[in-house]
Every structure is written in structure tokens, then in C-alpha cells.
Symmetry: C2
Subunit: 402 residues, 2 copies
């Protein structure tokens, strides 16, 4: 059986994602689509609207056949590590193709750019360092360095977020020497970070989330951008757990953690750079909301996203010494499967490059960070909702959809 | 000027406390009463109903002349350390007398018993160890050992909580060789732990708190047990900060802290004994309220009070290595004064045995635990109330009452 892989967050799964899945299968002429998806916390360092289980169900009902979890150690890191971990999962699951959406839409641009960056690696890294030394954020430094090096023969616009991710995927495939062929399709209409609706049926996940939160969790007006299955699952989640999750739900815990930690304890946390701990502590003392807190700590040097990831690692209590250093995954955590997905598993799992984990258990220490992140996610809810979410990690078998 | 000292928590200050202050001054024929009072967290390991500032004002309006804070390192410890730290403050503030309430009411019983325990110290300690080895709690072991040693010439009933505290005060005065004369008065009507009202004007603080919490913070029905000044200050606090504080307000934070700490991090916390960490973690996963949690972790071996103190140290993140080991205080933190109190300060402070601290500041590292406990206390409130409580520690000058 032929499998095409996609790397996703589905926060939430919308019409654009559904279009992407159809296109991926078609372009690769594949039998199934394998989605590797972030768990409860995302690459932007924030909680997903709804749990990984609800998002898995959305994915399966929207056309994915197998869903594996991108472990916390990759899901909540910079684009480089995120891409590397995610691609390693697709490799282990024996995908022959990867299909990603990009602003560019032409795979040749990615391959050429990758080659160019490889040939000019040393100069490129020097440039990046230089820009960072001048207080520029990492993503911005990447794009500026690239522009400097190839002002005339520029083939790929690396100021676009999906182009950046795409080039990281291509690089990861190359670095890991995986037999995966990359395909890209042009993202339809909506730009990744668009906060406004630009089409009648396709909207970015960002604009959908924004609408949800400004409408106090109301789904009205979003029907046209979501598959009916997603719409129903969002309604169901809200009924079952009383909310959609946002950073504000975790603010009281983060504030507590910041105020009760010693400066040394904060410095020991993954990604907390020397000096940042005092800035965080001072802001925490004054801010009443997470939004206020973020506005106070934001500087040119640190992107919002990076600071959110730092906050998440603090909340997770992930120390520098305990964050695994490997750039590829150690296990394939199965979150869900369709009928064809199960068939693929039965046929191919003996060839998988990594152990398959179908259920979490406290004794699996390699899952420690994923278990902690699920526990933390549950603490954003209250009362009985919290208790039910807390149990899920150990009781929920992989979601099955026909 | 002659000063009599009292050791108090005033949670809240009631008619019995007022009676005690009057009696103390009278029996000692003193010019002023110096109260050393627990801060925001109490010896039972729980948050005070209202902040130390509100309780200081109650004390001053009820007859105290100077109020000093018992530092966290003593206020939240077993009776032995609590007494030792508190008595050292009274010594440093040059009290000639200490007056404590007791069930017994006769100071000779205390002096005799103290002498008897001193003479039989070795046997006594052996007995206590033996009982603890059989899984009996520490307070129970004390009283059983005492009964065993002096079955016929028993002069003091050491099953009574105030008698136990009294004997600790007398012992601390002796151990620290302080020129303080102990006086005791019989506690009027209400027993320390009484949960029911037994008189028309005197009720235990326990019964008052119980009434407050079962009535959802309503003060009605409590007027007759409280001085009007206390009554008004409680009303004012509730209006100003929206609540009275209880462990339930901190439960979400404790649960978070338990679930995100490694077993080793929990074992490193002051008073967490080997093996207890797993019991705490398992209970935290299941309990929805602090009450449920406590009921699950309670055993014959650990008293409720002791477990609450353990929980408090966990929430405070006080490690074994950072809990100071000295048995006497390092500073006198002034919380408030009356006119006579100020006069006494002006005359006597040059003779004080410890540095006087009138205002907290982040640079005073010796106050670290007190500052952390005030921050933690504030986190039991929400929104603006929390922000105002957070600022208090650094902005509130000592309360002054004419």
C-alpha cells in the first residue's frame, strides 16, 4: 500500500485541511494518508482548542487514515526540530511521499533552495548569527540572511511561514536520508496567519480561533469554513468539557509557578536564557492576564511564539537536562485510524522503523513528557471536566472511524 | 515600661482573645501587651481567613499594643519549633512576662511538669520514639508517654492542646534562658477545637470559621462572639478582597504542583518523608477538592495538621536544604502598633535582641520565606483582588491605631 504523509496541528481541522488531504492523496496517487499531529500543545507554544483525541477524530472524519502524535519534545520546539521530529515519524511509518502546503506551490523551488543553502551553509550560518547578534529574531534572521545571499537568483520567498516549514521538511528528509518524495501544493486563499476571512469556504485556523474566542466560544458563523464533522465535534467537546482551551486557562498556574520558583530553578528550564527569568518574574507580579503578561515580556529579540514556548516549558517544568537531545523520534504513538489505516497497519507495522505505542501507561518513561503535557492540558479545565480529561491519557484507546 | 507577651494566630480575633489580653495585662500588671502572631499561614498548615494586616488591625483594636510576625520558618512548624521561635521573639522584644491560656489554668502545674520532664528526659524520649515506631502520631505519642511515666503524680493533662502548647512555651523560656516569667489563665468556656458554640459570647475560632464557611462567608449570627471592631474588619476584608481564604482556594495550585513535580522534587521538600510523595501524587490525580484529597492521604500515622503543613511546604516550594535550622528568630518584623506600643518601641528598641524590620523589601533575603508566603497567599484571590494583595507585602507600612 502506498502512503502519503502530512504534518499537521488541526487546530481545528477546517475545509482548507480537507482540501489538502484530498490533494495529497491525489498527487501522490496514494492509498492512505498518514497524519502526524501535535498533541495537546502546539508549535506556537499554546494549548490546542480541543484535546488531541477530538482533533484526531476530526482528522479521521476529514480524510486522514492514520494519526500519530508528534511527541512533546518536537511538537513544542522551533521549526527546525519540529520538522525533524515530524519527518522522522513519517519515515518510520514508511510513507513514500510527504505533501505540504506552501505559498510557493512548486516543489522545484524547494529543492533548488535546499541545494543552494547546502552549498552556502557556512556563509548562511554566519549571516544568521550576525543578525541574531544585532537583536533580530531567529525566523527573521533566516529570511534576511537568505535574501542577502541570493538577491538575484532568489527562487523561494522565505518570509512566508509555510515556505519556511517546507524547506525544513525537505532538509530533514535529506539529513535523515529518508526515501520520501516531497510534494507541495499551493495553499488555497487563506494565508497562514490571516485573522480575517478571505473566502467563502476557506479560512485560516488562526481566523477561526479568533472568531471563536471573540464570540465567547460561539460557533455561529463558522459553519461555512468547517466540515460538518468538525463543527459537530467542536460542539460536542464544548458540551462535554465546558470550554475551548486557551492560555488564559493556564495563566493562574503559570503565575504561581513563576512566583514560587527561584531564579536558578527558572534558569534550569529548557529555553530560558540567562536574564530572561527576572523579566518573567517582574511581569508576572504585575500582569492580571496572560495577554498582559506577554505584552510586557515581548521584545524585538524574542518572538511571541518563542516566548509562549518558554512559558509552556516553565509550566511543564521541563528542565534543560531532561529535554531529550535526539533529533528524531523514539516511538510512534497511535492516536487513531480509519478502516484503510488499520489495513495499512496490519500489513506494514512489521516494517516500521520505530516501536508502535497504542496506549499510554505510567510505566512508559519515554512517554513522560507526553503524559505530563496531557495532565497539564487537563488542568486548564475545572471540576469534573478536569477529572475526565485527566483520565483520558490512560484510558482512551486509539480512535477508530470506518 | 513593663510588657507582657502573648503568642497568637487570631483567626479571627474574638471575644475570648479580648478577654485574654485584658487578663494578661492585669495579671502581669503590665503597661503594654506584645503579640507575636503567625503571618498569612498558620500552625495548622492552612491559610488565615484574612491577611496578616487585617488580623493585626483586629489585634490592635482589641487591646494589643505591638504586633510582630512569627516568621514562616516557625509559624508553620510543629508545636516545639513554633513555641521556640515565638518565645524567642518575645525575649528579643524584652517582655518580662508571657501569658498563655490553658485548660489547666495553674502555672505551678506547668513548672512542675516541666521539671519532671527534664528529670526524665531520656526515658521520655525513648517512650515517644517507641510509640511513633508503632505508628502513633507525634502529639498522641507525647501524651501517652507522659501518662506512662507519671501515672500517679500526674499534674497536667497533656491530652489538652493548650496545655501542650503551654508546656512548650515554658520549656522554650528555660532552654533559651530568657528572663520571662510565665503566667497562665484558664481558657473561658470554649475548647480550642470546639466546633459548636458553647457560650453566649465566647466561641472558639474553629467554630467561628466553621460557621463562616458553612454560611458561604456570611457573618450573620457571629456578632455576639466577635468584638464589633473584628466584625467590621471582616466585613471590610470581604468587600475589599471578595473572600475569606481557605485551602480550597489553593487546591488548583497544589494539584498542579503535585502533578508537575518529579518524585525526587517532592522528596526534596521540607517534611516530605520517603514514600509520602507517591501517596500524594496518586490522591492528587483523583481528588477534585482539597477536602477529598486530604481524606485520601490521611492515615493514623500522619495527623491532619501535619499533612496540611506538608502540603503548604510543597505549595511554597520550600526545600529541605533551604528551611533554616535555627530554633530562634533572626529578626522582629513589626506589623502594627498602638500609641503605647510606639512609646515602648521608642524607649526600648535600642535594647532589642534582634534587628527590627518595619518594611519588607525584595533585597532582604532573610525575609525570603515570608515574602513567598505573602505572594502565595495573594494567589488564593483572583483578578484585581489578587493584584492588590500581591502589592501589600512591599507597600503596607505597619498598621497604626491610636
Amino acid at each position: 500500500m502506498k502512503a502519503v504523509g502530512v504534518i499537521v496541528e488541526y487546530n481545528p481541522f477546517h475545509n482548507g485541511h480537507k482540501f489538502h488531504l484530498t490533494q495529497a492523496k491525489e498527487h501522490a496517487n496514494a492509498d492512505i494518508v498518514i497524519a502526524v499531529m501535535s498533541g495537546n500543545f502546539l508549535q506556537r507554544g499554546e494549548p490546542a482548542l480541543v484535546s488531541k483525541w477530538a482533533r484526531t477524530e476530526m482528522a479521521l472524519k476529514g480524510g486522514a487514515d492514520l494519526v500519530f502524535e508528534i511527541p512533546y519534545q518536537f511538537a513544542t520546539q522551533n521549526a527546525d526540530l519540529f520538522a525533524s521530529g515530524a519527518v522522522s515519524l513519517l519515515g518510520a511509518a514508511k510513507c513514500q511521499f510527504i505533501c505540504f502546503g506552501s505559498e510557493d506551490g512548486d516543489i522545484e523551488s524547494f529543492l533548488e533552495t535546499h541545494q543552494f543553502l547546502k552549498d552556502h551553509d557556512f556563509e548562511f550560518q554566519q549571516k544568521v548569527k550576525e543578525y541574531i547578534g544585532h537583536g533580530v529574531s531567529y525566523p527573521k534572521a533566516l529570511s534576511l540572511s537568505f535574501n542577502d545571499l541570493s538577491p538575484n537568483k532568489k527562487v523561494l520567498d522565505l518570509t512566508k511561514p509555510n515556505n519556511i516549514l517546507g524547506i525544513q521538511y525537505v532538509t530533514a528528509i535529506h539529513d535523515q536520508k529518508l526515501p520520501i518524495k516531497p510534494i507541495t501544493i499551493t495553499r488555497k486563499n487563506a494565508n497562514y496567519h490571516d485573522q480575517h476571512f478571505a473566502s467563502e469556504s476557506i479560512a485560516s485556523a488562526t481566523s477561526i480561533r479568533k472568531s471563536l474566542f471573540t464570540q465567547n466560544g460561539e460557533l455561529s458563523g463558522l459553519q461555512s469554513y468547517l466540515p460538518p464533522t468538525t463543527y459537530d465535534l467542536l460542539l460536542k467537546y464544548k458540551k462535554e468539557y465546558g470550554q475551548f482551551h486557551s492560555w488564559e486557562d493556564y495563566w493562574a498556574l503559570l503565575k504561581y509557578k513563576l512566583l514560587q520558583s527561584s531564579p536558578q530553578e527558572l534558569r534550569d528550564i529548557h529555553e530560558v536564557e540567562e536574564g530572561l527569568e527576572n523579566r518573567l518574574l517582574q511581569a508576572a507580579l504585575l500582569a492580571e492576564t496572560f495577554q498582559e503578561f506577554m505584552e510586557q515580556i515581548k521584545t524585538k529579540r524574542y518572538t511571541w511564539t518563542r516566548l509562549q514556548r518558554v512559558c509552556l516549558h516553565i509550566l511543564m517544568n521541563v528542565k534543560k537536562v531532561e529535554m531529550p537531545k535526539n533529533k528524531t523520534a523514539n516511538y510512534l504513538r497511535l492516536l487513531g485510524m480509519s478502516g484503510s489505516g488499520r489495513e495499512y497497519l496490519n500489513k506494514e507495522k512489521k516494517n516500521f522503523g520505530l516501536p508502535l505505542v497504542s496506549k499510554s501507561s505510567a510505566s512508559k518513561t519515554e512517554l513522560d513528557l507526553d503524559i505530563r503535557s496531557s495532565r497539564l492540558y487537563a488542568l486548564g479545565a475545572t471540576g469534573e471536566n478536569q477529572s475526565r480529561l485527566l483520565k483520558l491519557e490512560f484510558t482512551q484507546p486509539p480512535i477508530q472511524v470506518k
